[in-house]
Each structure stands twice: as C-alpha cells, then as structure tokens.
C-alpha cells in the first residue's frame, strides 16, 4: 500500500523532471550542455498555462509551452553555437532570464483558473492491483512522457538522424565528411531539448498543479541536468533517475506523516543526497561514456 503510494508519487512528482532530462539528454548528446533547462521549463510552464487560459484547451497549451521552451533554448543555441559563448555561463544566465521574463509576463495569469489535464485512469489496466495504481492513473502528459522514452532511444540509436546527432557530440569530423553542418544538427538538438523541457514545465503547471506562480520549477531543471549525467546519456536511465528523484520526494513526505523523530530539514535534503549517491554508484561502475564534445566543456577547454 505504502509502496504503491510512493511509486505512484514518484511518477507524479518525477514526470516534469523526466521530460526536462530527456530534453537535456538530446542536447548533451549533440555536445551542448544547457543549464538553462530551468529557464525553458519556466517558459513552458508559463506559456502553456497562459495559452490554456486563453483557449481553454490544454493540448494547445502543451504545444505553446513546448514552443516557449524552444524559444528560450534558441537563445542558448544562438549564443553557444553561433557566437561560441561559454556554455555554462550562458545556461546560468538563461536561468535568470527565464525567471525574470516568465515572472514578468506571467504576472497577470497568477490568479487565473484553468481546466487543465486531469488524471485519466486507463480502463481495465488501472484495475490491476498495484501496477494499476502505480502506472495507470495519471494525466495524459505522463502517459505520453513514458511513451517518449523508447521513441527517443529508437531515434538516438536506430536512426540516421540519431547517428548524426551523436556524431555532432562525439566526432564532428564524421559529419563534415558526409557534408552535414554539425552546427545545424547541434542547434536542432538544443531546440528539441528546449521543447521537451517546456513540455516538462507544462506538465507541472497545466497537468499537475493547475496553477502558475513565479519561479514554480524551484530547481527541477537543475536536477534534470544532473540526472542526465547520472543516466550516462541513456534515455531509459534518465527516466529511472527522474523517478528515483520523485520517489525520494514521495518517500520524505510519507516519512513525515509517520511522525518519526527525524527533522524535516534532513528529509528535504534526501532527494538531492540520493541523486548524488546514485551518481556516485553509476560513476563507479562505468568507464567514461561522456560525449567527447561535452567532455571539453566540462574540462573548460571548449566555449571560452
């Protein structure tokens, strides 16, 4: 009972982070790290909420939120790929920018009400004991986000497009040799990443909480970036990581209700500490599978 609650909670609180981390994964596979994911998420959360208010249609809101996330990421793409600016500094600036611009434009939407996404139990499947509670009583965006993961895996590892994208992050000579401009590929990956992060924001505002407030992502985008590394740049693992983070959130809330003599402040740290611990475990077991282009960013050689 408690276990299924925690796992269902993991999906509920992990989905927005998961979507953002899938987006970040695309971007990093192409060799661009985007700390501005937080900004894209905020853009998505605000834009999606606003369009849902205007149109009353959460699907249009989702599309708009994705596009807002993409727009925010476009700034990153231009500065980092065309102007060759420092990736980490640009990303961090983007985070501030996202906070400011969404707070500014989102102000008039704070008190608005929307008819957003609601949990849709899937007939028959949701009646399965345990699994039904955990997996099949969520909002439509959560279901889509689960389907997205195998699609991304297929795209990255089984299609020509995926090979190009990974080549942009690993060996751009290969791309040059086949007459493709790696900058274009990279830009496309960053934009697609922003789109997904935006959808993650939409999930938070339009599906999960039905509200928009200033800076409502509260660091979820940052966690998403960390999870990509935990995931060794593999979509399924990023999903696992996001749900792990979500489970830690759900767990700490459950523990609080048991009235155990543990300070809530230690429990608040739990998701972050668990993420670090998970990173440590993974790192121990693998040889470096960092996309080469990224490695240069981290070691300070690329991009200023």
């Amino acid at each position: 009972m408690i276990l299924s609650d925690i796992l269902a909670g993991a999906l509920r609180s992990g989905t927005s982070v998961m979507l953002a981390s899938q987006g970040e994964l695309l971007s990093e596979r192409a060799g661009v790290i985007n700390l501005g994911t937080e900004g894209s998420m905020l853009g998505g959360a605000m834009g999606g909420f606003a369009v849902t208010v205007w149109t009353g249609n959460p699907w249009l809101g989702t599309l708009a939120g994705g596009l807002c996330g993409l727009l925010v990421a476009a700034i990153h793409a231009y500065l980092v790929i065309v102007r060759k600016a420092n990736q980490l500094a640009t990303g961090l600036t983007l985070m501030f920018f996202g906070m400011g611009i969404t707070a500014f434009f989102g102000r008039s939407f704070v008190s608005e009400r929307i008819v957003g996404f609601n949990p849709v139990p899937i007939p028959w499947l949701s009646d399965i004991p345990f699994l039904g509670d955990v997996l099949f009583r969520h909002d439509p965006l959560t279901y889509l986000s689960i389907l997205l993961v195998p699609c991304l895996w297929f795209l990255l590892f089984r299609t020509r497009l995926g090979i190009m994208l990974r080549a942009a992050g690993e060996r751009e000579e290969v791309l040059f040799a086949s007459g493709i401009n790696p900058k274009l590929v990279r830009g496309a990956a960053v934009l697609a990443g922003g789109f997904l992060a935006g959808i993650g924001g939409v999930q938070l505002s339009v599906a999960y909480t039905h509200s928009w407030v200033e800076n409502m992502t509260q660091g979820r985008g940052v966690v998403a970036v960390a999870l990509v590394i935990f995931a060794s740049w593999k979509p399924a693992r990023a999903m696992l990581g996001a749900y792990l983070f979500g489970a830690a959130q759900a767990l700490q809330l459950t523990v609080q209700q048991q009235g155990l003599p543990i300070s809530p402040f230690f429990l608040f740290m739990l998701p972050y500490l668990l993420t670090i611990a998970a990173l440590l475990l993974v790192e121990r077991r693998r040889q470096s599978s960092t996309p080469e282009g990224l490695g240069r960013v981290f070691s300070g050689e690329a991009g200023g």
Partner: protein, 393 residues
Amino acid sequence: MKTKSSRKFAGIFLMCVLLFAAVLSGCSQPGSGQERPEASGSAPASAPAASAAPGTGGTAVGFIFVGTKDDYGYNQAAYLGSEAVEKAFPDLKVLRAENVPETAEAERVMEQMIKDGAKIIFPTSYGHLDPALNVAKRHPDVVFFHQGGLKTADNLGTYFGTIWQPVYLAGVAAGKMSKSGKLGYIVSVPIPQVLLNVNAFELGAKSVNPNASTSVVFTGSWCDPGQQANAANSLIDGGVDVLTQHQDCTKTVIETAERAGIKTVGYHADASPLAPNGWITGSVWNWSDLFVDMVKTAVEGKFKGSKYDGKYRGTIADDVVRLTDFGAGVPDDAKQLVEEKKKGLLDGTLNPFKGPIEDQSGAVKIKDGETLTVEQLESMDYLVKGVVGNIPK
C-alpha cells in the same frame, strides 16, 4: 593576447560608466524637473522632523512584501490592504516592493522608499522586523507598522490578526465533517505562526471529535506548487479526508483536494470558487480597514500613544480576521457548532488555549486554567497532542 583582452574589457566597463554618465547629464533637464517635487517634499520635512510627529508630512506610503502578489495568499492579502490605502489617500503615493528577502537587503529598500518621500512604511513579513528596527533607529520621523512582530520601538509598532481564532473554528467544522478523523495540514517551515495555527486547528477538531488527529507535512518552501501537490497527494493516499494548509500560495492544494473528492479548509483568502464540492470554510485576513485606519492615525500625527504604538492584535471581534462563508456541502449541525464556538470567542467565554494543554509527548505545556499572553502564543514551539508530525528541536 592578454593585454588586448583586458583593454577590451576596460573598454566595455568604461562604456558602461559613460552610458550612465551620458544618461545623467543628457537627461538632467527632464529628470530634475520630475524629481524636484519629491526632493523638496522630503528635504524640508526632514529638517523639522524633531518637532513634527513621526509619520506626518510624507508624500508616500511604502509597502514591502516578502513574495509576490500571488494567488489567494499571504502577500495577496497585504497587497489588497495596500490598495485600500491607495484608494483612501489619493494624495499619498503607494510604493511597493515585492520579493524583498528577509535579510539586510530589506534595509536598502526601506531607505529607498524613505528617500522617495515615504513617512509610513509597512514591512509585511516577520523577517523584515530586524531590518525595520535598524532603519527606524535612523529615521525617527518615519512610522513603521510591522506585520506580526513581537519587538517594538519608539516609531515602530507591530500589528497582526489572531488568525488562530478562525483557524480553530475551521478545525471545529473539519473535525465534525471528517469521517476518518484524519486531517491533513500542509505547511512550509516550522515557525511559531505556523505551529500556532496547526495547534489551534487540532484543538478545534478535537473539541468535537476526541479521536481527530492532524497530520502535518512540511514542504520547506512558502510557495512550491509542485511540492504542495506532492504533499497533498501523499496525505490523501495516507487517508486524510480534510486538507488544509499554511502556505503563501494556496490554490494548488485546494484544487488537488477538490479533484481527489475530499474536503478542504482555506487559509489567507476565500477560495471557495476553486472547490465547489469540497469547500468547508476558510480563515482570511481583512487588512483593508485596519491599514487605512493605521495610515490615518499616523498621517494625523496621532501615532504616539495610539493603539498601534505597541503590539496591536486585531481579533475576530475586530473583524481583522474572518471566517469565510460555509461551502454548500457543510451540514447544519456543523455550522451550528461553529457558530456556538464563535459566540464564545466573541464574548470571551471561550479560549482554546486555556490549559491544561499537552504537547505531543504528553508533557503539560499550559497548566490547568492558565492562559497565554500574545508573546507566549506567538512564540509557540511545540505541537499539541493529536498532531502527527515532527519539528526540529
């Protein structure tokens, strides 16, 4: 390479300074024209400050908020109060600053407001108290009305509402209406105002249902809708059937409870439209009349010795705090119980915090027959028996 880059840099920096200088010199004409009335307004006012009563002679009233004018929340309530002041005193400019952190940053914001002509300042969050005391010391001619503080100064009074009274009444209704006897309280961090409300709620519920227990969950943040939804879902999974909260933004919890088909009790503002089925009632602030009266007192130079010169606490009898209308689903017997208790609070025959009251461990915290002072109430650091949850010691 190095010199080139540093020169480049120096260039950029100098250009920045140049820009500002250019803006200043180039636009000094219109700028000074605009600034003059304000400057002349404050300059002579500060000279005879020693003789004039504090709070008089200003051209503006300043409000600082710890968050933004968020939906159905704490800052929203104070913001509405500032709008009432704006309407009541068309000659006074209302200056507002949101997201002012509860650190020494707040001092600068207040100084800026004083420079812009404010002689009355409302720091509206508890953490603004120390900065306000510091600024008050430097500006004896300015009156400060601090929201919720327990320390005062010559020109700084504090005000607050006994919001725990309506919270207690809401607890009565919640305890009466709960079927499982398990109530959920989503709060931010364990500060006294929060603990006082949680305790009042539990005492109210227990007064009509001895088995009622309140599970308290801390989110660690004043406004994180995602985490609020997590907490609400977690509590609902845990079996609570009435949910309430002490957060700065309150919409998410109410909507989440409504969607899950359970009852909800509001806080800070009337959010009944958000929960047509589950709304029981809510505790709200009514700052408007109070703020207008406070500003009026100060502007007329009557701050000294007035009831606001000290620790003013508006009660449910003063209509500073209110209980909202009941939701459609509240049965008559619950309404009647609340009305009875409310009468007791109004005529003073009922005091929920009259001892004996035990904390979670069973230790007697308020002795039999003992009642609490404002300071004791507002510095509560324990949870009463019947509350499930843990606070750091």
